[in-house]
Amino acid sequence: MKFKILISLGLLLCLGCTKNDTEIAYQPVYLNVEQPSNFPDIVYNLENNPVTEAGFELGKSLFYEGKLSANNAIPCAFCHEQAFAFTHHGHTVSHGVNGGIGTRNAQPMQNLAYQSEFMWDGAASHLDLQPVIPLTSDLEMGETVGNVITKLQADSYYQNQFKKAFEDGAINSENLLKALSQFMVMMVSSNSKYDKHVRAEDGVTLTQIELDGLATFNNKCASCHATDLFTDQSYRNNGLSVNPRLNDLGRYDIFENPNDIYKFKVPSLRNVEKSFPYMHDGRFATLEAVLDFYDSGMVDNGNVDPIFKRNDGTLGISLSAYEKESIIAFLKTLTDNEFLTDERFSEY
């Protein structure tokens, strides 16, 4: 890891050297944020922060930039690896600077332009403000925005790239966060097998077991995992046993509303095959474990969403062995390999 960072740092410095003497000017080339026909409308305010080629490139550099962290070695990408739908591969919760260990599972980054709140508890109510949370968390990147700005101001690559990306050319927190958003809103995952099936593209159709899984999914899961984003963007308590080590109260921490205890944002299921482990604390390593949990593992922790109540008063979503098998087959059709290997988002 360090080795890679050193190389990339070296490359960045070399680029900085060669481009130093050319004329730097703000000449925006606008990029279009995709609006897939099967998606809800974009909610991110693009008029306020139109995506440009230079802004996107800057945002990408910042996403892979170690300087955003206190020890200059933990970029956003450390916990958000592309091949795993921008999650921290295999980690229940993530490691940060100085051996810090967080309390939640790193969420996938995709289709953010269509969502209005972010983080497991919705702590970020605007995409532009989300990066401040991991950047300043002692357990994650352990920095301050002010200090990051100072570090970037001393770097010739950023001196040039901010000028190309923004009319005022200033290396400040507003432009830093806008550039990151420009990168993030472009991260659209909409070309899975399922998408092509839904949009009747390229003659792609689902197999029988995938169709069966989709039917069961629509019947038993889609009330929360709604729309083709596969989340209704609500916060719900899904009856996980409380992990006493973390005692994570979820959305309660935002407003201290007792009704919010143990509520977490309904996650999107796109690329879910690749984004394991699952749940806010990553307790389930496989999709089988997740479905077994919904079928027979839910517990009454005091505030479980009533949608999970069966007629006999018990909690859960009854699923037969074939229903589980077929739902998983369907969920795997949400894997979007074009997105997971898209070089526009890759470090190298």
């Binding site: 410095l13 229940t92 080590r245 496989t286 474990a289």
Partner: protein, 265 residues
């Protein structure tokens, strides 16, 4: 400024090329030592282990725990040339207590002054072997006090508890009955010490300037559904000093460890 950057880049290049020489046989590791961290991570099947969470097992039984501890000793590492490094005996015994786990549920065992080498295998004992026990109470150093404080000792005549699980279980016939697995060897009459040997998925590079980590997962489900499947209702809810039941659990425990991955940093 520019010169500084270019020289920095050159320096990086030099560092990069020096790294690539690492595998040459010319590297002299004599006398060099480094630190190795072994992370123990308890799970149940494909779930993370969490106190108070109910897990299902065979025979339509389920269990949940409030205590989960075990003793690890005699950690040894074998390198790619077949040499074995044994951590110094007096320090080579550890209590893995889930209650001490970090947010990620990992319990760290830090080995310092490990001989620099490229290791391909790790082995360790679950419990205390008869040689260490034969040193007597006064030969145990501080560990005896530690084990006592952690509830990992009977009286000296009986010896150490190797594995301790406390909680409750439910079955077709009972609900939330006590579950206590306190098992070890029994003096010198029953020997339940076993060694586990695990090959590493990739080489662990121990050097003065490198602190690699070995991530070991312990699947607690294997204690009850390992080589032998046991039933709580059938005498396995209380396992203490009985030669048969402790032997079955000890034998199952041999299969509960695996190396999940290795970090070389």
């Amino acid at each position: 400024m520019k010169i500084l950057k270019i020289s920095f880049a050159l320096l990086l290049c030099a560092m990069v090329s020096s790294c690539s020489n690492e595998d040459d046989n010319t590297e002299n590791l004599a006398g060099q030592t480094g630190t190795l961290i072994i992370k123990f991570d308890n799970g149940v099947g494909d779930q993370d282990f969490i106190f108070g969470t109910s897990y299902t097992k065979s025979n339509n039984e389920s269990f949940q725990l409030s205590t989960l501890k075990y003793l690890i000793s005699n950690i040894a590492l074998t390198d790619d040339e077949g040499n074995t490094f044994m951590y110094p005996s007096e320090k080579n015994v550890f209590i893995i207590n889930e209650a001490n786990a970090n947010n990620a549920g990992e319990i760290y065992v830090t080995l310092d002054e490990v001989d620099a080498a490229n290791y391909t295998n790790i082995s360790f004992g679950l419990g205390i072997d008869q040689d260490r026990y034969a040193l007597g109470a006064e030969g145990q150093g501080n560990f005896l006090t530690t084990a006592e404080a952690e509830g990992m000792m009977w009286s000296w005549a009986t010896g150490y508890r190797f594995t301790r699980l406390d909680g409750t279980y439910s079955s077709n016939t009972v609900t939330n009955e006590a579950l206590n697995i306190h098992m070890g060897s029994v003096g010198t009459s029953v020997d339940n010490y076993n060694e586990i040997s695990l090959s590493l998925p990739n080489t662990v590079v121990v050097r003065e300037d490198k602190s690699p980590q070995i991530h070991v997962v312990a699947d607690i489900a294997k204690l009850f559904d390992g080589e032998t499947s046991v039933s709580f209702d059938d005498g396995y809810a209380q396992v203490h000093v009985d030669a048969t039941t402790t032997g079955v659990i000890a034998n199952n425990a041999k299969g509960m460890f695996s190396v999940h991955h290795v970090h070389n940093e």
